[in-house]
Amino acid sequence: MSTASYPVADTATMLRRNLRHALRYPALSLGAVGMPIIMLLLFGLIFGDTFSAGLGGGADGFAYLDFLTPGLLLMAIASGTMSPAIGAAMDMTEGIVARFRTMAIFRPAVLTGHVLGNVVLTTISLAVVVGFAVLIGFRPNASVVDWLLAAGLLIAVTIALTWFAIALGLISKTAEGASNIVLPISFVLPFLSNTFLPLDAMPSGVRWFAEYQPFTPIIDTLRHLLIGTPVKDGSGLQAIGWCVAITVVGYFWAQKSYNKGTAA
């Protein structure tokens, strides 16, 4: 290309655009915290003791709230993918993306702006959920290093799921379509995982699914980092592997949809 491109500046401009959008619609942007907080109240506070007893926890085992919280952090990330998916779909249906495409700007900036914007929002959501969990009795025993590793993993998961959600948003023609198409990420994966129960306590069909889906090794790893539960060998690597794989697929799929039909 004969013109210089400005990847950092253009991506920063797009990030500012998305953060401004988020400020205009705080309910949609931080709506992701709603579900995990309800779950914290319902399962952590109300049913918590019963669950602990039933799972052989209680006095000498883990507190159910401690067991539950890491999975709910993932749920917050997953629910948060709805907003960038809708944002990407809306961009495509309105003329603004046509404008961006006829400008000499760094091509991936528009979508990367959505992803970074969502990383910022999700970080806030996660802080709110952790804060609330601590308030009602979540007591992690993690060291500073564990916290940093956990934070790193959570951000990696956010980036991966957001790219994938954006790819899904781009192939749906409307905002409504986008909010439906990401439901498997925002709803099915968090529930059909080991968020609420250890794998051993699940019926066989669900257990099979939960065992092989990406959230389970990620939640195992988070639990290990935050509350020190034992973890299967290789869960950490599996967790990172999933993040990398989902990011790569989501990124290239999204960029391909975005650039479809235009001059390179």
Binding site: A9, R24, G261, A263
Partner: protein
């Protein structure tokens, strides 16, 4: 004069449907070029290809001296595009939209703000500058849209039906703006379905129909193709009708309807001339209607068939 846009053998089809069937276009720098045609003629597709938004199936295109296929980003750096549907970010204010454009043009922080305020002023959006663009009226959105296109001071501007759906006053304001742009040396590529608009603005007009150029020329050259300018005289009696045929020999008579179609460009001078001749011959005219050429007439003249959709002229 050098060439701003040059396209040879532009082809585009979607499946079996041929949208552009090999058209050639040449636009001189600093002029207004108008692509005129009814809905579905392929105007928007032509703009989308020339502005790098979609790729052509075949054809050689140079825009601002760059080969479009080889250096799309160099072309993008030289052009500004205002599409048919407003390309503004509804969740940003007018001013934020302009600053975003300036940031993407890497104007620098201070220059970005100065440019944004300058354009708000120029497009009469100072008051609305702090409001979300989604709350703007249609005319305000169009103005913001065009202002956003101008942020980077592009040398070539594509305007796809810039006045469709605007009220007459906003339309005239848009015309004034476009003329002012060209006065600064910018090249404008404009599509429209209104003959009047092309006539008012364009140095050169090309008529597009079913993906093919059916006529090209200056507004004057095109209007000469149009036989549609006439005055229709209706008479109450066969005697008057016959007499009129002898006086106004250029007229085309219709004995059944007792009407005479006299060529006339509808100007005051030509009408006065006609009325004088009617009076001098003491003709009794039952009804007189003036018919000025419109897009339908151009199409009839150059394609031999009327447009499928009667173009609205306002």
């Amino acid at each position: 004069m050098s060439t701003a846009i040059e396209a040879r053998g532009l082809h585009k089809s979607y499946g079996d449907k041929v949208v552009l069937a090999g058209i050639d276009l040449t636009v001189a720098e600093g002029t207004i070029f108008s692509l005129l045609g009814p809905n579905g003629a392929g105007k928007t597709t032509a703009v989308q290809i020339l502005s790098t938004l979609i790729t052509a199936d075949a054809g050689a295109i140079r825009v601002a001296g760059h080969d479009l296929a080889a250096e799309p980003d160099a072309v993008r750096a030289a052009i500004g595009v205002t599409g048919q549907f407003s390309a503004v970010d509804g969740l940003l204010t007018g001013r934020e939209n302009l600053i975003m454009m300036a940031d993407l043009g890497h104007l620098g922080r201070r220059a970005a703000r100065t440019r944004a305020d300058e354009l708000l002023e120029q497009f009469d959006l100072v008051e609305a500058g702090g409001k979300l663009a989604m709350t703007y009226s249609g005319g305000m959105k169009r103005r913001l849209d065009l202002a956003m296109t101008l942020v980077g001071s592009p040398r070539i501007i594509f305007l796809d039906e810039p006045t469709t759906g605007l009220d007459p006053r906003s339309r005239h304001n848009m015309w004034t703006t476009i003329r002012a742009l060209v006065a600064t040396g910018v090249t404008v590529f404009l599509t429209t379905q209104y003959l009047e608009e092309a006539d008012q603005l364009a140095d050169q007009i090309a008529v597009l129909d079913h993906g093919q150029l059916v006529a090209e020329g200056t507004p004057e050259q095109l209007k000469r193709l149009v036989p549609g300018g006439h005055v229709l005289l209706r008479f109450n009696s066969p005697e008057e009708f016959t007499l009129a045929g002898q006086v106004l020999t250029a007229g085309v008579p219709n004995p059944e309807a007792l009407t005479l179609q006299v060529p006339n460009d509808g100007s005051v001078l030509a009408l006065r001339d006609l009325l004088t001749r009617i009076e001098d011959s003491s003709l009794e005219v039952g009804e007189l209607t003036v018919h000025t050429p419109d897009l339908d007439d151009v199409f009839f003249a150059v394609t031999g068939q009327p447009t499928h959709e009667k173009a609205l002229s306002a």
